[in-house]
């Protein structure tokens, strides 16, 4: 029983980081009706911003994190929206999807060129201690990852549902034309969505890198799993992305522990096929109709 609890808690912790990246997929989908295939690299990159500040500029840890957050907002939010998304939106979704793939390669190769191909240790502000919960040993870091991710996604949901700006962002996402008629600054709301996505990616990067290490290729698997988590949960629902991320994290751990270690990488794909067959809109998503 203690092992089961241990596996579930570890899975929830990992899944909460998938969830942060998956929420980013949902936000970009709602804001630009496109899939950002550079989302994994968006999570990989902020760790290197922080490492540059810490090792090259000699800044302390928290200043490094602050620098990484600001750099992420500027490059992954502002510049991504202004230089990639905005110019390509009139051409439709597919060219934009291809452009995000190009961005993914650009970010990966840039990190490899400027910082190196080797994995780098990444500092954590949290202690290495553990807690005993129901016979299971859970690390303070895992617990923090889980609680912090839940708090961030919960806070984001409240912001979107309960604040004027949040509701305007939702309106701009659901029907830009109608929102504009009603006086919503759609361009600004879209920019907010990209800035929130960049902040989430940076936060996920700070949580995941101390354990996974900072490496240029980290976004490959993380991006794929988060993408699947977003589809499983429901691409058009923030809560869906959260549920999808946690579900994938826990199931991955359970399968690896109790069923097969060799085929664990196939699990998210099996889950994806199952959801597409039985509930294409995702577990918590709404069906969307499109005129072709």
């Amino acid at each position: 029983m203690s092992q089961f609890l241990q596996v579930v808690l570890s899975g929830l912790s990992t899944g909460s980081i998938y969830a942060l990246a998956a929420v980013g997929f949902a936000l970009v989908w709602q804001a630009a009706q496109t899939v950002n295939f550079a989302q994994g690299e968006f999570v990989m990159l902020p760790a290197f911003f922080a490492l540059v500040a810490i090792h090259w500029f000699g800044w302390p840890l928290w200043a490094g994190f602050a620098f990484a957050m600001l750099a992420s907002l500027a490059i992954l939010g502002l510049a991504f929206k202004g230089l990639v998304v905005q110019p390509m939106m009139p051409d439709g979704g597919l060219p934009l999807v291809i452009a995000t793939m190009a961005v993914s390669i650009l970010l990966k190769e840039s990190v490899k060129t400027f910082y190196g191909a080797e994995a780098q240790p990444f500092p954590s502000p949290l202690p290495d201690g553990t807690l005993q919960i129901g016979g299971a040993v859970i690390s303070i870091r895992d617990l923090f990852d889980l609680l912090a991710s839940l708090a961030v996604v919960g806070g984001l949901t409240l912001f979107l549902d309960r604040t004027r700006t949040g509701r305007q962002m939702q309106a701009a996402a659901q029907s830009p034309a109608v929102a504009e008629i009603l006086g919503v600054d759609v361009a600004r709301m879209t920019l907010y969505a990209f800035l929130v996505n960049a902040a989430l990616a940076a936060f996920a990067s700070f949580l995941v890198s101390p354990t996974y290490l900072a490496k240029f290729s980290n976004g490959e698997s993380l991006g794929l799993v988060a993408f699947i988590a977003a589809i499983v949960g429901g691409f058009n629902r923030i809560r869906g992305a959260l549920v999808g991320g946690l579900l994938v994290g826990v199931l991955d751990n359970l399968v690896a522990t109790y069923v097969t270690q060799e085929y664990r990488a196939a699990l998210p794909l099996v889950l994806l096929i199952a959801v597409i067959l039985w509930r294409p809109q995702g577990l918590l998503g709404d069906a969307e109709g499109r005129t072709v």
Binding site: Q3, Q6, V7, S10, G11, S13, T14, K112, G116, A117, E118, A119, Q120, P121, D128, T130, V137, S139, R141, D142, P210, T211, Y212, L213, K215, S217, N218, S221, D252, N253, A256, T257, Q261, E262, R264, A265
Partner: protein, 380 residues
């Protein structure tokens, strides 16, 4: 200038450039470095390459090999076997005398067939047992294969840890599978029960399920046979889950890169290593210090492997007195390079008729963030 004179002058210029190039080509001997400079093997390949370049600089400064300067060009396999195969073909077409690399077993198993067919000697850092078991007369190791390294740990598990039950965490590639199979056979002979056999993927980042399985199995110790980055991740995860049993590895677990990546989580990790920069051997320590001075970082054993590959090329070529690939390979079989006479080998090193290597090795432990030698294992 008339059109005819212009064409004549141009023809002479082209011929002069061509002859100059040919003259330069005749003055150099090509030792291409085909290594894992990106991808999962970047840590190993980069150190191997940098160690090799130190040797090249030293040899060229001392006059080269038989009067020819070494020309070393780097090629990145991206840790992809098929890319490595294509690159080995390319360097052979370009006139490689001896090939330095590759380091990963999965790549070497594929690309050494190309070098063998062309009759080009190759120094590999690979450690999978089957590399030297295929009758390839042109392949030579720069560190012992797993079939020599892993058995050195059997006595440690049996007599020091007094293990009755043991777990193994291994990477599911050619390197890992080779070590895994040797380990299972050794444990069977020693009467130690393997209670958890946990494979993982190359490049795997999440080891929570792996550690959970090992913990639940009730093992007295765990044998960790992973590459550098994965070794660091499992050490971190073991601390997170409070795994208290000894974590013992072969070669990588106590390497400098693993210590750098795992930080405090590497403390107490144990490993048998064929080469160690912390070995109490003045020539090895001098090499490690020189490496750090040049590259502003510590190397692991792969830096030494690349270094001795190039120096062995010089020593053996000068023994045969000519640049003859077949004579080189023939000379290597059954050769011992005594460190007293060939100091840049760092340790007395022997190759048998399969290209397998033998030399003194070490037991190590991570103490205070450093790899510390705790014992010496004689050459086997």
């Amino acid at each position: 200038m008339s059109r005819r004179n212009f064409l004549t002058a141009a023809a002479f210029a082209v011929a002069a450039i061509g002859l100059g190039g040919a003259a330069r080509a005749a003055d150099v001997v090509k030792l291409p470095c085909v290594c894992e400079l990106s991808g999962a093997g970047a840590v190993s390949g980069t150190n191997y390459r940098d160690g090799a370049h130190i040797a090249v600089d030293e040899i060229n400064a001392a006059g080269g090999i038989l009067g020819k300067k070494i020309e070393m060009t780097d090629y990145d396999t991206q840790t992809d076997p098929m890319t490595s195969r294509a690159l080995i073909q390319k360097v052979i077409d370009d006139g490689a005398y001896v090939i330095i690399g590759t380091v990963y077993s999965g790549s070497t198993a594929v690309n050494m067939l190309v070098a063998q067919k062309a009759g080009v000697p190759q120094f590999t850092g690979a450690e999978a047992p089957d590399i030297t078991a295929k009758g390839n007369p042109y392949i030579f190791r720069t560190s012992s294969g797993a079939e020599k390294g892993v058995p050195a740990l059997t006595a440690y598990f049996k007599d020091t840890v007094k293990a009755k039950k043991i777990a193994i965490s291994w990477v599911n590639n050619d390197f890992g599978k080779g070590g895994h199979d040797v380990f299972l056979s050794e444990m069977k002979k020693a009467g130690i029960q393997v209670v958890a056999d946990v494979p993982s993927e190359q490049g795997q980042v999440d080891f929570s399920a792996d550690v959970s399985k090992i913990k639940q199995a009730g093992a007295d110790a765990v044998f960790v046979y992973l590459n550098e980055e994965e070794s660091a991740r499992i050490l971190k995860e073991a601390v997170k889950q409070g795994l208290k049993i000894p974590m013992v590895g072969e070669v990588t677990l106590t390497g400098q890169k693993v210590i750098d990546l795992a930080g405090g989580a590497a403390e107490g990790a144990l490993a048998h290593v064929g080469l160690a920069t912390s070995a109490p051997v003045p020539s090895i320590q001098a090499f490690a210090a020189n490496f750090k001075k040049i590259y502003k970082r510590d190397t692991d054993h792969n830096g030494i492997k690349g270094y001795i590959a190039v120096w062995a090329t010089k020593y053996v070529t000068e023994m045969i007195g000519k640049f003859d690939r077949k004579a080189f390979a023939d000379k290597m079989h059954g050769l011992t390079l005594d460190v007293a006479k060939y100091p840049h080998m760092l340790l007395t090193t022997s190759w048998d008729k399969t290209g397998e290597l033998s030399r003194e090795s070490f037991m190590t432990e991570v103490k205070g963030g450093k790899q510390v030698i705790t014992g010496t294992v004689p050459a086997n």
